[in-house]
């Protein structure tokens, strides 16, 4: 089960946040921004402290109640997917979401890169796709 999706731009700003489960507690919008910024910093630190060179940084954070998957694109955008611990095949799911992003966000003439995403078609396509992932 996919719980929520965060998209963080290359500067660490939160550009998209959406929950896919009714039972989740909503945070204030400021808290979401802090959460995204914090993860961005942790990610940057993990690339530095890695004992092997050229580390891509943190990819998975596991907890009792959830798993947090991070997928960083070559352009530095991070997709964070929070799922329940048993969720299979999140790699494919993240790639699928990345594809929706490149279709409905990047090809949308009214979107300014690195700014919060407000695209109706992106919302709709996620709504349609997420339950099947």
């Amino acid at each position: 089960m996919i719980l929520s999706l965060y998209i963080i731009n290359k500067a660490g700003g939160l550009v998209y946040q959406r929950d896919f489960n009714e039972s989740l507690n909503r945070l204030s919008s400021n808290d979401y921004l802090i959460l995204a910024g914090t993860f961005h910093s942790i990610h940057a630190i993990t690339t530095r402290i890695s004992p092997v060179g050229n580390s891509e940084g943190i990819e998975l954070l596991e907890a009792d109640g959830f798993k947090l998957h991070c997928f960083q694109t070559v352009t530095g955008i991070k997709f964070l997917l929070i799922t329940d611990p048993a969720h299979p095949n999140t790699d494919a799911a993240l790639r699928r979401i990345y594809r929706l992003y490149s279709d409905f966000v990047m090809k949308n003439p009214f979107y300014t890169p690195d700014m919060p995403i407000r695209a109706e078609l992106f919302d709709q396509s996620l709504q349609r796709t997420i339950p099947s992932l």
Partner: protein
Amino acid sequence: MSKIISTIPGRLAANQTDTWSTGSGGRRRASILDRSLNRAQASEVNLSAFSFLFSEILQYTQNRVDGISDFEQRLNTLGFGIGVRVLELTMWREKGQPRRERRVLNVLYYIHSVVWKSLFGRPAHALEKSTDNEDEYMLIDNEPVASRFVSVPKELSQFNCNAFVAGIIEGVLHGCQCSARVTAHTVPVDGKPLRTIFLIKLSEEAVQREEQISK
């Protein structure tokens, strides 16, 4: 190295492909102008390439207009030039003897099937005549390619980027001596959120001409 070029004028274009091409580093690539005009299958354009270009066109245009109607008018004008050319190209590609359509309905049907197929790879979904006005027709596309990835923000909710395609229709009609005003309207129905109606309003001259031909 010399190469023999066919001396039959009709076959010149096809055979010249290799000799005219220019390429860097010894790699020879035929440009689009060297290809035969009849090769409709190989001339498909990648949807992403089109979408990114169209997106840039919209951004470029938006920065140079004031107001939504001006914005749509500019896109319409851009499409118009394409329409005139598309008509010529599709006529050229017609099998057998190309016919020049004169009757309004034939022209519209030509747009519905041949032009749409050449532009989008499939015919349009419907062609209807308005019941309210004699001079109005509606061409309906359930999945317009131009607005497939475009989410219009709330402050521009009146804007429809299919004005560009409407301009193409206008261009084709103009080339067939049936000048008209074409506008695009998104009218969603169940399961087809992007369904777009191109409203074609014929000009007075076109209506008069049609009456004269029918006599």
